[in-house]
Point group: C2
Amino acid sequence: MYYSSQSLERLISELTRLPGIGRKTAQRLAFFILKQSDEDVERMAQAIVEVKKNTRYCSQCFNLTETDPCPICQDNKRDYTVLCVVEEAHDVLAVERLGQYNGKYHVLGGVLSPLDNSGPEDLTIQGLVARCKDGVKEVIVATNPSMEGEATAIYLSKLLKPLGPKITRIARGIPSGSDLEFVDEVTLLRAFEGRSDL
Amino acid sequence: MYYSSQSLERLISELTRLPGIGRKTAQRLAFFILKQSDEDVERMAQAIVEVKKNTRYCSQCFNLTETDPCPICQDNKRDYTVLCVVEEAHDVLAVERLGQYNGKYHVLGGVLSPLDNSGPEDLTIQGLVARCKDGVKEVIVATNPSMEGEATAIYLSKLLKPLGPKITRIARGIPSGSDLEFVDEVTLLRAFEGRSDL
């Protein structure tokens, strides 16, 4: 026998569908929601519906946005000759948080991954190629340093170099605050390969 | 600078208010929601709103329910002379899952906790006293074995004994599958105190 309240059961099973949320956590969340005021609950439900309604992909960089083109693509103060290529929209956020990068972005929407049946046609590579023909001087490939991310970087480099721009890759090495002793061999090897003058 | 989508920011900040959900998790959940179909998203939002609308407390046992009295209180096959007193509605679920208990429940809605300013008037103790005068033969106090839970159990025992029913407390001891070596001293002491004939 489960809860005497069907609505509660329904909410719990809806929450269980979220990634990383099991039944116990869903239960805790549901009880929290029950204790909220009517307005708070209404606002949360609305935020969920509206995010689907209002958010789309930017037709230029494929970042998530409410306006098309997105504010970053519209911003004339940003350097359109530099493109930072990332896997997903949340990677844009990670770079933006630095407050140092002043170029534009291109969101691939994933990586090349033959095992998952994800090829070049599943990514926004066509758009990237078109942009590279349009005065872009440097493409910084900032895909993740995973196997697929590296493969995608190599693929992009081969594809885009003939079009003119310089293709660079963000450095892979030992993260700040880490310890040589605990770092895996691939990372350490990359750190040696990528060493710079002092 | 944050996401270019205000709706996305709004959803993330709404999700961050949930217990145990930080910004990174909220972000992951928001992206998951974005990838869902319109109907799925609509259904989740509705479940959130409806749980508030449809769920109330049972006027007899204070369990969460859609009907008043709740299905357990309405069930004539259950033994109304035995009451299991628990802290919260989810504790009812835990006991019900056993499938062994056939009495009724009383949900306190918390525990006595002077530090949190929670006294007897904040719990459903008045209703419990009224029910105990009405043919109840045994009250099983199943509050948690925390400091506050134990204090509440002692308080209830003193309050209800003069009214007639037998007051019992669920056993505290070593959990099944555990190891003497790793159990804390209070638990081990309780296990010795509560030993039974073999």
